[in-house]
Every structure is written in C-alpha cells, then in structure tokens.
Amino acid sequence: MQSKIRGKQTIAFESPPVVLSSATVVGPMEGAGPLASKFHTVLTDTLDGEKSWERTESKMLKDAIKSTITQANLMEADINFLLAGDLLNQITASNYAARDLPISFLGLYGACSNMALSLFLGSVLIDGGFAERVVAAASSHHDTAERQYRFPTEQGVQRPLTAQWTVTGAGATLLSRQGTGVKITYATPGKVIDLGVSDPNNMGAAMAPAVADTIIRHFQDLGSTPADYDLIISGDLGQIGLNITKDLVSQGGYQLNNYTDCGILVYDDTQDVHSGGSGCGCSAVVINAHILRELQAKRLKKVLFIGSGALLSPTLTQQGESIPSIGHAVVLEAPL
C-alpha cells in the first residue's frame, strides 16, 4: 500500500472524504454580524431557555450535530463516530452533548483548533477505511469561556484592544466515504509552538507562529504555493494575529495575498469586539455556514483552512507560563 504521507507531516487522502451536510447554531451577536444570513439557526438569547450557559452550549452542539444527520436524510445509527471538542474543563460541552446521542464518541481537545482537528481525524478514519460516516463538530460560548478563562461577566472587567470575543456558536460537519460534495483532500497537523507570549488577552499573537509554521510546512510538503488556493483562512487569530502570521509566512518565503481569518469575518467593526472573534465556535460556524457553502456553489474551488488553538489553562497563565499554540490545516475542495 502506498504511503499517504507527503513530505514531513502532510497527509494526502487517497479517497477524499465528502461533506454530506453541515450545520451551525449561533448566538444573537453572531446572528447580527456580517454572516447573519448564512447561519442555519440563530438563537434569540444566549441562554435559550436553559438554566446555565454550559447547558446552552451543549444543546447548541447537540442540535448542530443532529441537524447534519437529518439534512443528509440519515439516522443517528448511520454515523460510526462523533468527533467533537470545546473549550470547557474536561470538554464537558461535548461530553454532555454526546450523552444524548447513540453514537461512538471521541472527545477532542485542540482548544480553538477543534474544528480543523475533528475534520482531519474524521477524514483519517474514513480514508483509512475505519468508518463510513462521521460527524466532526466543535462549539464555544462567550459566557462559558469568560467564566472558564477570565472573569465573571457581571464584574464588567475592561477588555484591552488586543482581546478577542469568544464566539457563541456550534458547528458540525457530516463526512462520508461516499457521495458528492465538498472534499477534504489534504491535511497538515501542526506542531506545538510557543514563542513566549504570556498574555491571555492577546491570543492571536500567541497562536500566529504555530499557524505560520503549519502554513509554511504545508506548502513545502506539497510543493504548492499560496496561488494554488482560492482562499487561505485561519481559525481565530483576529486582526493582530493575522498580520503577524502574514509577516512570518512571508519570512518563510511565501506571500499571502488571499488570506483571511474566521475571527475577522464573523463580526463587523461596529460590534465592538476589538481584535475579532475567537473560540472553537468561531471557525466552526464560519467554515460550516460560509466557506463550505461557497465551495459547494463553486465560488471557491480550493481552500486551505488552518484551525488555530491556544493550548493554555488559566492555572498556568496565572503561574506566569507562556501560551503554547497549535495550527492544524485541512484542504477543502469544491466538487468537480
């Protein structure tokens, strides 16, 4: 059997998994942003009738997963594996969503890179012949993340201009071995990189070196260039992280002229989010609601999506540790 590894760390899928359906559930603020019309479900408030934001996030994730299955006219029993992750301690949003689903569950943690990580691992399972259909999913919720990583929301702590706004959103993608649709053709899982940024209010800067490393490695492994892609899009670097990534990739010898970030697309300037959106849900909703649609409609042919994750914990940042980060890339291609 021929090896599927290309170069050092890029995988070329022999039978690229197909996206059968995708779904998103977002909060009211995302639903008032520039991608408002693209989301599948927009909640009218951040609790959505639940007694805690944690329960809401779990429900959003579960609803997104179920929606992909019904959209594809399938039953839960038709799905071999569910791969999902979120930002909460012990990835509880995913665990509690999976509690109500009769599907074998693989909980993932790659921080905000979870959507790219779950798409990558789901594709490996399918292309490796270990699964017929999988659902890859990720979620975040602004208020659960604030509680987890920062301060109680009621305290009204000032956010510096480098800070990003955690997206309230869940996204899910149903991948299948057979069918027609957008294909996942390559993946470049990243290395953990830490250049010493220790400010949890400047995660874009912390994650940029890891994302840049994965982008450069991807081009080198495949002998490709930025021009081979219609769009290169990172997960949640925000404006500051995006500029740093551009600089770092150009130092590596590649000019990124067709590059943007989900954290920039998800909100507009009037929404006062400072450096842009962040969180697992940021790339999960932008990819599933917007990018996959553009590919399906063939307005985009080939997209390099790099999920960016800041692998910090509040305990370690309070101890003054810097923030290790990771970038996982997958290539999404429009149907022929």
Partner: protein, 121 residues
Amino acid sequence: MLFAMVIPAFLVGGALCVLAQLLMDLTRPSFSPAHVLVTYVTGGAILGGLGLYAPLIKIGGAGASIPLTGFGYSLAKGAIEAVDKKGLIGAFSGGLEATAAGIAAAVVFGYLMAVFFDPKG
C-alpha cells in the same frame, strides 16, 4: 456651596481612577484589575498609617474616601485608634471595626443583587 464640595471630590476621585487606568493600560498584561484592588487598598493603608492620606480626604472628601484607597485608609486609621484605646490587640480588631459598615453594606447589597438579578456568570 455644593460646587465647593463636588469639584474637589471629582478631581481627587477622578485622579485616583486615572492613575489606576494608566497602571493597567501601560503595564498590560502584568497589571490586572485585581492588582489595582490590592495596590490601592494597601497603598491607602500605608499612606493612612503615615498620616499622608488624611489631608487628601480633607481636600477631596468622598472623592478620596470612597475609592479603594479610602478603604485602606480606614483600615489603618481604625487600627491606630484602637491601639490607643485597647493596646496592641486593637491593631487586630480596629481595622475591621472601623470598616464594618462598609463590609456589611457590601454583603447586604451583594446578596440583594444576587436575589433580584439572578446572576449567571
């Protein structure tokens, strides 16, 4: 008459807030709101103990007594006064006695906010 009180209070209280804001903005990420709280309370206590904060209250009134430094000042003032009355034990009891009204008010109003507004964060 009112302005004679309000304007100095505004200037003194405002200056304390500006200082805290600058401390945060110019030193991020190392100086957090929690650092402001601790620095201001201990700073007020030290200045109070040295007799340097009372003149500020004389000028600024509530502008100096309401901010966190005023709380620190009250702790120090209460401890010093209690030592005069009760001896060394007053150093332990005096601070909280002097600030008891403020602390009890914080507990009562915090409780009422929690009851009425059902915070989720």
